[in-house]
C-alpha cells in the first residue's frame, strides 16, 4: 500500500511510521504545520507543532529512508479546531479538540488530500486497534489501556477508518519506547505531550479569556436561585468543576459546590451539591457508527463520556434519530459538548459501537 504517515515529531508517530515501513508499505512522511505562528527552536518543544518537532520528525524520516514534507494545515486547523473550541466554550459546552482534529484535520483534510494524491491510507501513532472484519472497520481499545485513544477516534466514519492505519494499537507504550531506542530513533526519550497543543502553557481559561474577553455573568445557587457571586464568562467553567468558582461564602450546609449547568444566554453558572451532578440519561446527536452499522434496539454496553475515565455500564437506544444512553452507575460531570462513546466489552479489546456529541443530560 501507499501510506502517508502523519509524523508529529513524537515517539508514537515515529514508531508507527517505522512499522509501516517495516511492513513493506511505500511510506511518505508528512508533518502537519498546524500553528499559524509556530514556536521557534528557542521556545523549545511543547505541544505538537514547533519547529523543533518538525525537525525531529524529519530526522526520523531520514533514518527510515522515506521522503518527508511539511504541509501547511494551519488555516484549516484554526477554523475547524481552534475556532470551534472557542465557540463551543462560548456556547457553554466543553469541547474535545483532539477528537475534532482527528475528525476534521487528520482524517478529513489530510486524508482527502492523501487519497487524491494516490495514497491508500493515513498512518498515525494513535493507540487504538483497528481491523477490517467482513469488509467493515472494527475499532477497539488499545492493548495499553492507560494510553487508549479509541475515545478520540470514535467519531471517525467507516469510510475514514477504512483508510486509517494505527500500527501501535496492539502495543504497550513502554514497548514502543524500547522499540524506538532499538531502531535508533532520537525521539525515543521525548516526553509525552498532554496539553492541548495550541495552548502550550496549559492555561485554557487564560486562552479563552484572550479570545472571548469578559462576558460577565452570575453564579447562581441551583436550589435557591440565590446569586452567590459573579464571573467573567461561562467559558471559564466546565460541568462538574469544583475548584476555582470564586465564591467567598461557604454553602449553607458546609458542603462543597459544583458547577451543574452553564447557561450562555443569561450568563448564569448554576452551582449545587455533588449528588445533583448525577446523570440518569444522556442525549447525543451527530451519531457516528465506525463499523457503518447503527445499533438496533436497546443495547447493553459501556458508555464513556470523557477522554479519561467517566465510564459506566449503560443501555443505549436510538429514539427519533437521537441517541439515548442510560448509565447504570452514577456518572457525574457529564458535560455537553463532549462525546459519548459506546463500547461492547470484549476480552480482545472493547469494540467501539458508536459515538455522538452530548447535547443534554437529565
Amino acid at each position: 500500500m501507499r501510506v502517508l504517515a502523519a509524523m508529529s515529531g513524537g515517539v508514537d508517530s515515529a514508531v508507527a511510521a517505522a512499522r509501516a515501513v517495516a511492513a513493506g508499505h511505500e511510506v511518505v512522511g508528512v508533518h502537519l504545520a498546524l500553528s499559524a505562528k509556530p514556536g521557534t527552536l528557542r521556545t523549545g518543544s511543547r505541544g505538537c507543532c514547533t519547529v523543533e518537532d518538525a525537525h525531529d520528525a524529519r530526522r526520523v524520516a531520514d533514518l527510515l529512508g522515506i521522503p518527508f514534507y511539511v504541509w501547511d494545515f494551519a488555516e484549516r486547523f484554526t477554523e475547524d479546531v481552534v475556532e470551534d473550541f472557542v465557540a463551543e466554550y462560548a456556547a457553554g459546552r466543553t469541547p474535545n479538540p483532539c477528537l475534532k482534529c482527528n475528525e476534521r484535520i487528520k482524517f478529513e483534510a489530510l486524508l482527502d488530500k492523501a487519497i487524491a494524491l494516490g495514497f491508500d491510507a493515513v498512518c498515525t501513532g494513535h493507540y487504538a486497534r483497528l481491523a477490517q472484519v467482513d469488509g467493515r472497520p472494527e475499532l477497539r481499545r488499545s492493548a495499553d489501556l492507560g494510553k487508549d485513544q479509541s475515545y478520540v477516534l470514535a467519531s471517525l466514519t467507516a469510510e475514514q477508518l477504512s483508510h486509517a492505519m494505527f500500527p501501535l494499537g496492539g502495543s504497550l507504550k513502554s514497548d514502543v519506547r524500547v522499540e524506538a531506542t532499538e531502531r535508533g530513533l532520537a525521539v525515543a526519550e521525548k516526553p509525552d505531550s498532554y496539553d492541548i497543543c495550541f495552548i502550550p502553557d496549559g492555561d485554557t481559561r487564560g486562552f479563552l479569556a484572550g479570545k472571548l474577553g469578559e462576558r460577565p455573568g452570575q453564579l447562581v445557587d441551583d436550589e435557591t436561585g440565590a446569586v452567590l457571586g459573579v464571573h467573567a464568562g461561562v467559558h471559564g467553567f466546565t460541568v462538574g468543576q469544583r475548584h476555582g468558582l470564586g465564591i467567598d461564602a461557604p454553602s449553607a450546609d458546609g458542603r462543597p459546590r459544583y458547577v451543574l449547568a452553564l447557561e450562555p444566554v443569561s450568563g448564569n453558572v448554576r452551582v449545587g451539591a455533588l449528588e445533583k451532578l448525577a446523570v440518569r440519561e444522556i442525549i447525543a446527536t451527530r451519531l457516528i457508527w465506525p463499523s457503518g452499522r447503527p445499533i438496533e434496539g436497546t443495547v447493553e454496553c459501556v458508555a464513556q463520556v470523557r477522554a479519561h475515565g467517566g465510564t459506566s455500564q449503560a443501555t443505549a437506544e436510538l429514539v427519533d434519530g437521537e441517541l439515548l444512553v442510560r448509565p447504570g452507575d452514577e456518572l457525574r460531570g457529564v458535560a455537553p459538548g463532549q462525546a459519548v462513546v459506546l463500547y461492547r466489552p470484549d476480552d480482545a479489546g472493547d469494540v467501539v459501537l458508536g459515538s455522538g456529541m452530548i447535547v443534554a443530560t437529565r
Binding site: 511518505v28 508533518h31 509556530p38 514534507y69 484549516r76
Partner: protein
C-alpha cells in the same frame, strides 16, 4: 534525477571541485607573515583579481564573505549605519518589495531595532522595479535616504531589473545603490563598473562554486560599517580568517561563469523557451509568472534565461512538488520558512497575484547541467501531476462544501 532547481543551488563544476580539493591540503593563515601565510595570501589575492576581472570591478573592491546572505546584510546594514552616523537624518532604506529575505529582513531589522524607515518599492505585474518608482521615492526626501537595494534579477520569477537606470537615479543624489546579483552572474552581462552600482552581492554555490563563500563588491568610496567585528581582514569591513580553499574555488567558479556566460545564456534560453512552450501546450491554463523574456534590459535578456515560473490554478504547490519529487523531478515552490512550510510567495503577492494562485506555483530553474532530456522528462510528467494535484486541491473544498450542506 531531473534537477530543475539551479536557482536554489548548482552542482559544483568539475574544475571548481578540483581547485577546491587542491587548495584544501595547503595550509597557512592568509594574515600570517611567514612563508605559509604569504602563500595563502597570494592565493587569496589572485582569487580577488580573478573575481574583479570577471565582474568588471577593481581588486580592491572585492570583499570575500560567507555568501549571499552575509553580503546582503553587510551592504544594507553596513551602508545604512555608516551613512547615518555621518548624518542622522538619513533614516530611509529603500528596497524593492520582491527582494530576497536576506535584503528584506535585514532592512526590516533596521526598522525594528535601529530606527530606520523601510520603504518598499512597488513592482509591476512582472515583478520589475521601474526607474520612475525609485525616482519618486527618492524625491520625497532625497536627504533622508541612507541606502537603496534592488536585486539585479529576481530569484523566484526571473525578472531582470533596469540596474543601470536605478543606479543612475541614486547617483544623481549621491545615494549608494546596492544590488543582489546572486542569480544574475553567469547568465547576464554583470559589469560592476558599467552598472553604476556601488555595492553588489555574488554567491559561490549559485554558479557552480562551493557553499559558504561569496563576495560583496563594494566601491572604495562607499562608507560601510562592519556587521561582525574582529580582525578586520577584509578592508576592516569584514572580519574572520580567510577561507582560502573556498575563495580559490569561488574565483574559479566566477571566472568560468563570466567566460562562458554568453554561450550558457543562449543555450539556457533555448531550453527554457522549449520548456515553457511545451508546458503551456500540455496545460493551457498554466500561468507563466514574471517577464515573458522576449525583450532586453541593459543589453541583456529581460528574464533570467534558465527561469520558468508557473502557477497552476486549483493546485497546491506542495502537492505538485511531492508528486514530481516521487518521479525524480526536483523543483521548488518558492520561499520556505525554517519549518519547511511553503508560504505564499511575497514576490507573487507583490506582483498582485491572488494568494490561492500564489500557493499553486512552481519554479523550474535550468543551469549548467540541464539538458533537453530534463525538459522532456518534465513535460511528460507535468500533465498527469497537475491533474492529480488539482483533484487533491479540490478534494478539500468539496468535502467542506458537502459537510456544510449536510449540517444545514
Amino acid at each position: 534525477m531531473t534537477y530543475l532547481d539551479h536557482a536554489a543551488t548548482t552542482p559544483i563544476l568539475p574544475a571548481v571541485a578540483e581547485a577546491l580539493t587542491g587548495a584544501l591540503t595547503t595550509y597557512g593563515n592568509a594574515s600570517s607573515l611567514h612563508t605559509s601565510g604569504r602563500l595563502a595570501r597570494r592565493a587569496v589575492e589572485e582569487a580577488r583579481e580573478t573575481v574583479a576581472a570577471a565582474l568588471g570591478a577593481r581588486p580592491s573592491e572585492v570583499i570575500f564573505t560567507s555568501g549571499g546572505t552575509e553580503s546582503d546584510n553587510l551592504a544594507v546594514k553596513g551602508i545604512h549605519w555608516a551613512r547615518r552616523a555621518k548624518n542622522p537624518n538619513r533614516t530611509r532604506v529603500l528596497v524593492s518589495a520582491v527582494e530576497h529575505h536576506a535584503v528584506l529582513d535585514a532592512a526590516t531589522w533596521l526598522a525594528e531595532h535601529s530606527g530606520a524607515e523601510v520603504v518598499a518599492l512597488e513592482v509591476d505585474a512582472f515583478g520589475r522595479v521601474h526607474e520612475d518608482t525609485l525616482r519618486a521615492a527618492i524625491a520625497e526626501d532625497p536627504e533622508s535616504v541612507s541606502v537603496v537595494s534592488v536585486m539585479w534579477a529576481n530569484n523566484e520569477v526571473g525578472t531582470v531589473n533596469p540596474v543601470r537606470e536605478l543606479a543612475a537615479a541614486c547617483a544623481a543624489h549621491g545615494i549608494p545603490f546596492h544590488t543582489d546579483a546572486v542569480q544574475a552572474v553567469g547568465v547576464l552581462p554583470v559589469d560592476f563598473a558599467g552598472s553604476g552600482a556601488n555595492a553588489l552581492t555574488v554567491s559561490g554555490h549559485k554558479l557552480g562554486g562551493p557553499f559558504g563563500v561569496g563576495a560583496l563588491l563594494l566601491g572604495r568610496d562607499v562608507p560601510c560599517a562592519p556587521v561582525s567585528h574582529g580582525g578586520g581582514q577584509e578592508r576592516d569591513v569584514r572580519s574572520g580568517t580567510l577561507n582560502v580553499p573556498a575563495i580559490v574555488a569561488f574565483a574559479e567558479a566566477v571566472r568560468v561563469a563570466a567566460a562562458d556566460r554568453a554561450e550558457r545564456a543562449d543555450r539556457l534560453a533555448v531550453l527554457r523557451a522549449d520548456l515553457v512552450a511545451r508546458v503551456r501546450a500540455a496545460l493551457p491554463d498554466a500561468i507563466l509568472n514574471g517577464d515573458p523574456g522576449e525583450s532586453t534590459v541593459d543589453d541583456g535578456p529581460s528574464r533570467l534565461p534558465g527561469n520558468a515560473h508557473f502557477s497552476f490554478p486549483g493546485c497546491e504547490g506542495d502537492s505538485l512538488l511531492m508528486l514530481l519529487d516521487a518521479k525524480g523531478i526536483e523543483c521548488s515552490t518558492g520561499s520556505a520558512c525554517t519549518a519547511g512550510v511553503a508560504q505564499p510567495s511575497h514576490v507573487l503577492l507583490a506582483m498582485g497575484a491572488e494568494p490561492a494562485i500564489a500557493r499553486g506555483s512552481l519554479r523550474f530553474s535550468l543551469g549548467h547541467t540541464s539538458t533537453v532530456d530534463d525538459v522532456d522528462t518534465l513535460v511528460e510528467a507535468i500533465g498527469p501531476v497537475v491533474a492529480r494535484a488539482r483533484s487533491a486541491g479540490l478534494a478539500g473544498m468539496r468535502r467542506a462544501k458537502s459537510r456544510a450542506a449536510a449540517e444545514v
